[in-house]
Amino acid sequence: MGKKVSTAAWLLVAVALCLVPHVADRFVTYLSMRVMMLGIFALGYNLLLGRTGLLSFGHGAFYAAGAYGLGLFSLHVSPHPLLGIAVGVAAAALVALAVGFLSVRSSEVYFSMLTLAFGMMVFALVWNLREVTGGDDGLIGIARAPIRLGPARIPIAREGQYYYLVLSLFALAVWVAARVRASPFGLVLAGIRENPTRTEFAGIPVRSYRLAVFVLSGMFAGLSGALEVLLESGARPSMAHWTHSAEPILVSLLGGLHTLTGPLVGSLLFVAMREIIMRFTENWMLAFGVVLLVIILGFRGGVVGSLAEAMRRRQAARRAP
C-alpha cells in the first residue's frame, strides 16, 4: 500500500467521522462516540502491550481515575468540561505513576500480577469510599456544561455537539500515538519489547522508559474514562474493575497488536459486534467469545495485521511472473 493510498484512506475516514452527526441518527452518533472512546483507551493501551510488550491488568484503575477525577472536579469545583478532562487525565497519570513505579521493576508475569493487585486495590477504594465516590451508586448527575474559552461559549449539551469534542480529542490521541510510534522514544520501546537486556546494554535505563510509557498509556485510559463520564452523565465503579482492563486487550487482539490502526479497527469491530449480538441474545459474551476465538486462531496478528499481510502477498505474487 502506497503512502498516497494510506493518506487518502485517513482523509476519507476523517471526513466520514466529521459527517456522522449530520447524516446518521442519534444512536449511530452515540455508538460512534463509544467507538472513539474505546479507540483512545486501546490506542494508549497498545503503546504498552503491542509496542513495549507489557501486559497490564491495571488500566481499569486509570480509566476510573480519569472518570472520577472529572466527576468529582465537576461536582465540587467547576463544571468546565476541558478543565475537568485535564484533571481526569492528571489523576490517571498520578495513579499510573504510583502503580507503575511499584510494578515496572518486575517483568512479564510478575508485572502483570502486580498491576492486577494494584488495580483491585483501586477498585476496592472506589467501592468502599462511599462519601467520596458514591460507592456502588457511583457519581451521578454530571452535566455537560458549555465550554467557556474567554468570551466564547461552546455548548456541548446535545449529543451532536458533544460528538465534536470527542472527535477532536480522538484525533489528538491518534496523532500523539502516531508521533510516539515514529519517534526515537517509540523505537526504544520496541527495543524493550524485543530484548530488554540488550536495550540496557545500549545504555538505556529500561525501567524509566517502561514507567514513562506506562504513565502515558494510563493518561490515554484516563482521557477515555473522563469522556465516558461526560457522555453518560455519571461514573460507575465497574470502570475500575480489572475485567474492564481486558477490554483493550480484546480490542488489540481483534484488530492487531503491531499497527496503529489495529486498535482502532478493533474498537469498531468490538462495539459493532457487541451491539449486533446483543440484539439476538442476552449471552452476548458467549457468542462474542466464539467470534474472538475464530479471529485469534484464524487471523494471526489481528484483522489489520492479516489483511496487510494478505495484500503484501498479493502484490508480491503480481510482481513475480
Binding site: 519517534s183 527495543g191 537486556t197 536495550t199 540496557e200 546494554f201 545500549a202 545504555g203 538505556i204 535505563p205
Partner: protein
Amino acid sequence: MTGPVLLETRKLSNHFGSICTARDLDLSFEEGVLTSIIGPNGAGKSTLINLVTGHLPVQAGRVTFRGRDVTRLPVHQRVRLGICRSFQIVNVFPQLTVLQNVLIPTLARLGRTRRAFARVSAETQARQEAEAVLERVGLSAERDLAAAALSHGDKHLLEVGVALAARPTLLFLDEPTAGMNPLERSRLLESIRKLAAEGRTTFVVVEHDMDVVFSLSERVVVLHRGELLCDGSPERVRGDARVREVYLGEEVADLPGGSQPGKGP
C-alpha cells in the same frame, strides 16, 4: 602503545552454588591493548564479562573504571561511561530491522531517546553514524532486513555492530566468531583489527580459536576454574608450562609459526 588503565578488578569473586567461577581476580585492562581471554569451558570467561559489565551482580570484590568505583553501577550507566559488550549467544532485536538494531544504541549515545515527538527518520546524525557502523561490519546491504532473517554469521556481525554503535571505550566481545564461516570470520577479525588500530575502542575478546587468539592479541589472559592462570604476551602464554598442562596441550605446540609469535595466518 600502552595507555592508562581503563578497567581494574580487585579480588573479584563469584560463586554459583558450590561452583566457583571467579576467585580473587586482580586484573587490569589498559587502553589500546587488544586482549584475549582464554580458558577451557567453565573457566569463568563469560562470568568475568558479566561481572565487569554489570550483567551479574558482584558478590565480592571491586570493579573500577578509570579510577571510579563502578561495582554497584547499573548496566546502562556503565555503558554510558564506555563499557560495553557483545553476547556469546546472539542477543539482538529480532523483529527490528538491521538499521534499527544499531540505531537504538546510537540514539542512546547521542541522548536522543527521550524524544517522543521527533521522527526517527529525521535523526540524520544518528542514521549516518548507524550506517557507518553497518558499513564497518559489512551489513550495509542488509540494513532493511529484519534481524531475525539474517544468516547465523550475519547475526554475529550485527551483534558486534550493536555493541560498537554504543561507541565504547572498552568493549568485551564474547566469542564473536562462534559459528561463523572462515570468510565471515576473517572479515570480522579484520574490522576488529582496524577498529583497534584507530584507537577509539579497546577490545577484550573471549575466543576459542587459538589461531585467532595468537594472531590478534597483544596480551592473553588465561583463566582456569575461576582463577587467573597466566597473564602476559602471547609468547609468554604459549611458553607457560601450566597453561599447556591444563588447557592448550598440543594445540599450542602445533601452531603454525610458533617461533614467530604475533603473526597471523
